[in-house]
Subunit: 348 residues, 2 copies
């Protein structure tokens, strides 16, 4: 049920004002607010302002630091090791990708690993930063466990997302995906609604297929392509967690339930400067041609249109910037409660 | 049917001797031979010496150059653009990953794109080169089309593999995967054997699910995770084909059938020096601990053991180095024919 249509810029200002009340500096508060509102604009509501109450609680309990004290620990022409010092993940992410882009612009490419960080919102947010500068951006993060290594019934790896964004002659093309068939959120929602789920989404806690979300929500998410998706999730734990010195797998602390122990998440970021390869003008034209060729191919049965990675999100973003972001009754009430609690003007 | 058990070193020498008869220099011939024999050692026979007759024909018809004239076209501290100049893909691949490793050792990481190349064998071969030097190695290639963009019924992207290898405190952990549920080779084999195939492997030329490999072999391979695998395949076309200035999708020429037009494949290679991040000693220990934790988890029903990415291949490699590589009657006869044709001593 839609309670309210919010203007994206007012919503972003409101979120930033709240975050500043917990001691964040204005520039980092705006980054966090922008990431949340961008998720709502793109239709990824699971990563949007519906999380704000939890972020505020995490700042209030100091399980996340409100300070901007992330630092570069090691630096080479093509690499960065960043210590997030338990700051908000979005602030750490934006800082690191910005540095990556600067270094790639000078040295061709840069790969960064980040430790002591927190949930950083949607991965595509940072990958798009590079694409908007004429670079290919790649990023990933680890997350609390939900996937079992192939052959096991016990969850170990997170639904670790990876995002890749490339510039084109129009909007950037952006892939942002987790290595599981569906997100755990879909299982939990089906359980709440009392609906059954298709086989192939989740295994029960004994590792057996189930269509019952009541059981499935305590099991493990099935990785895409079986051992392939499992392998991707494992490699993401290595690139994000092990390489940086952050935690990995079941050693990561819970975002929703644990307000005592920092998450100690890890991320990686990479920027590749297209101008150091075929050149950005040729690249934009060739990617554009490739996209137009693909979109003109014959449709498969039941398909209305061929969408490129990130295209639906991009269409939604433009539409919602014009017409507003629909907030559900529960999210609207949560925001209203926060406004009263922190004495922040509630104007959306 | 097993016709012969070959010693891997003799088989490698034999392959190199043949390739030299088509004008390749010894060092590059050994690289190509090593890649082929390594695939047979690892149990990836599809990329092993069964391809040698075709490689020899490609060299003989000069659709592939026997020369080692690959060159670095652009170079920055963290990047390389390599022109393969239509040399054998394995030689270009080894050259490029070697340079990537050297540059990463100095600058933290290096990303390389390659144009004007050819089929480069298994991707894991190059990723492992980095892991054996204490680095994370990543590589991918594009390939002739077999996958349709999600929503279309027509093939466009290749079964573009990606490989990631990481050092551990034992053998490197190596993921090497294509973004399709199965390889087209499995469909063609089922068609030859007159067997049906499971739904979910392939779509017929109209984009409908089929269990008939006779029809499926002219259709498209289903990507893992639907739009996710499709997105991975598209991004690989960008990273390998578009970025380097190589061809992409349906513009790539056929490896088995076209002996007139160079393939103009593209690859990418990346090396990340672990010592520029958490340090190689800590990394080896932490990855080792992670692997041991995962392998000790409860088994899922029907599973005998939890294998890490690349573990089965690594076990096979050791076993076959000791006990020999089994060659089928048809492959044995093909090699014997080549030996006679080129007057090379046939000793395996």
């Amino acid at each position: 049920m839609v309670a309210y249509k919010a203007d994206w810029q007012k919503l972003r200002r409101f979120c930033a004002n709240l975050l500043m009340k917990e001691g964040m500096c204005e520039s980092d508060a705006i980054v966090c607010a922008d990431s949340l509102v961008d998720a709502d604009l793109s239709g990824v509501e699971s990563h949007g302002v519906s999380r704000l109450t939890n972020y505020m609680k995490r700042l209030r309990t100091q399980v996340v630091s409100h300070e901007s004290n992330y630092t570069v620990e090691k630096e080479y022409p093509g690499s960065l090791l960043v210590d997030g010092n338990n700051a908000m993940g979005m602030a750490v992410g934006k800082f690191t990708m910005t540095r990556c882009i600067e270094k790639a612009s000078e040295n061709g490419s840069c790969f960064a690993a980040v430790k002591h960080s927190n949930h950083y919102g949607t991965a595509s947010y940072y990958a798009r930063m590079a694409a908007e500068k004429g670079m290919i951006g790649i990023t990933g993060t680890n997350a609390p466990p939900n996937i079992a290594p192939w052959g096991s019934s016990q969850k170990y790896m997170g639904t670790n997302p990876i995002a890749i964004a490339v510039p084109t002659d129009q909007e950037p093309m952006v892939l942002d995906m987790a290595p599981s068939v569906v997100a755990m959120g879909k299982i939990i929602l089906a359980a709440k609604l009392g609906k059954s789920i298709p086989e192939g989404w989740v295994l029960d806690p004994d590792g057996k297929p189930t269509t019952d979300p009541q059981v499935g929500q305590y099991g493990t998410l099935i990785p895409i392509g079986g051992p392939k998706g499992s392998g991707i999730a494992i490699m993401m734990e290595v690139l994000c967690g092990v390489l940086s010195g952050a935690e990995y797998g079941p050693h990561i602390n819970h975002f929703w339930k644990d307000f005592e122990h920092p998450q100690n998440l890890g991320h990686f970021f990479a920027a590749i400067d297209v101008d150091k390869f075929c050149g950005i003008c040729e690249f934009r034209q060739r990617v554009g041609n490739m996209i137009r060729e693909m979109k003109a191919l014959p449709l498969s049965p039941g398909s209305q249109q061929i969408y490129m990675p990130g295209e639906i999100e991009s269409i939604r973003r433009e539409e919602r910037k014009k017409n507003g972001i629909e907030l559900s009754e529960s999210v609207y009430q949560e925001l209203k409660t926060l406004a009263e609690q922190y004495n922040v003007k509630f104007e959306l």
